[in-house]
Symmetry: C2
Subunit: 131 residues, 2 copies
């Protein structure tokens, strides 16, 4: 058992990379991850899992491709939560901020499938250990 | 798919009950719940699941019974996260605040087993719908 709490503000201050999730907790076979966000992510999809987002700071936008192929963007601010359902193509972007995610351990930040090239400022990872 | 985000501050303002979790999101077969906290909860245990806590506001203490039977208390403030592992008896208490929890859908707020009587200010529930 962990001995004490992890403070999210301190955890976020311990690294600078954007779109490079750190794992702050594990619950059963799920991970809680945090990430700094800035700029455009990549269109990607998780075929087998929903993905939960909580905005800890700043603004975070999620472009979504709906069933009919129509695109829309959900804009999230601090304290907002949103779930991207499995199978829905999405592309995060941000003017700067930080997010918390819940998803099964081993879920890749760029999905099972992504579109085009992964930008150099986006880390394709299942999450790194904190500090 | 939900059309827009849920704001946790607004969600918390929509009800007053303490220790009566509301479900704000579902990810696969897991729920994200929020609750106001104040006073003593009850000693209880979840045999089959870990339980994740994030303090959204105020202070939240978790008394824990360790393997040897020894008791210790973890004190959490806003922005702190902590996981109570499955099988560990615990009793939350709070001088006032709010928390977010992440656990499998159907997890009861008072565990599979609790000690003594459930205080009247503690709701034994797997979570209520918001609003």
């Amino acid at each position: 058992m962990q001995t004490g709490p992890v403070n999210l503000t301190e955890a976020l201050a311990s690294f600078q990379d954007v779109y490079s999730p750190r794992i702050v907790a594990r619950i059963n076979d799920y991970d809680v991850k945090i990430a700094h966000t800035e700029g455009e992510h990549v269109w990607h999809v998780h075929a087998d899992t929903d993905e939960f987002f909580l905005v800890l700071d700043g603004q975070f936008d999620i472009a979504l491709r709906e069933a009919g192929g129509e695109e829309r963007t959900v804009t999230l601010h601090r304290g907002d939560v949103f779930v991207v359902p499995r199978g829905v193509e999405h592309k995060p972007s941000s003017s700067g901020g930080a997010i918390l995610m819940f998803e099964p351990s081993g879920t890749a930040s760029t999905g099972d499938r992504y579109e085009g090239a992964i930008p150099t400022h986006v880390d394709s990872t299942t999450g790194h250990a904190l500090g």
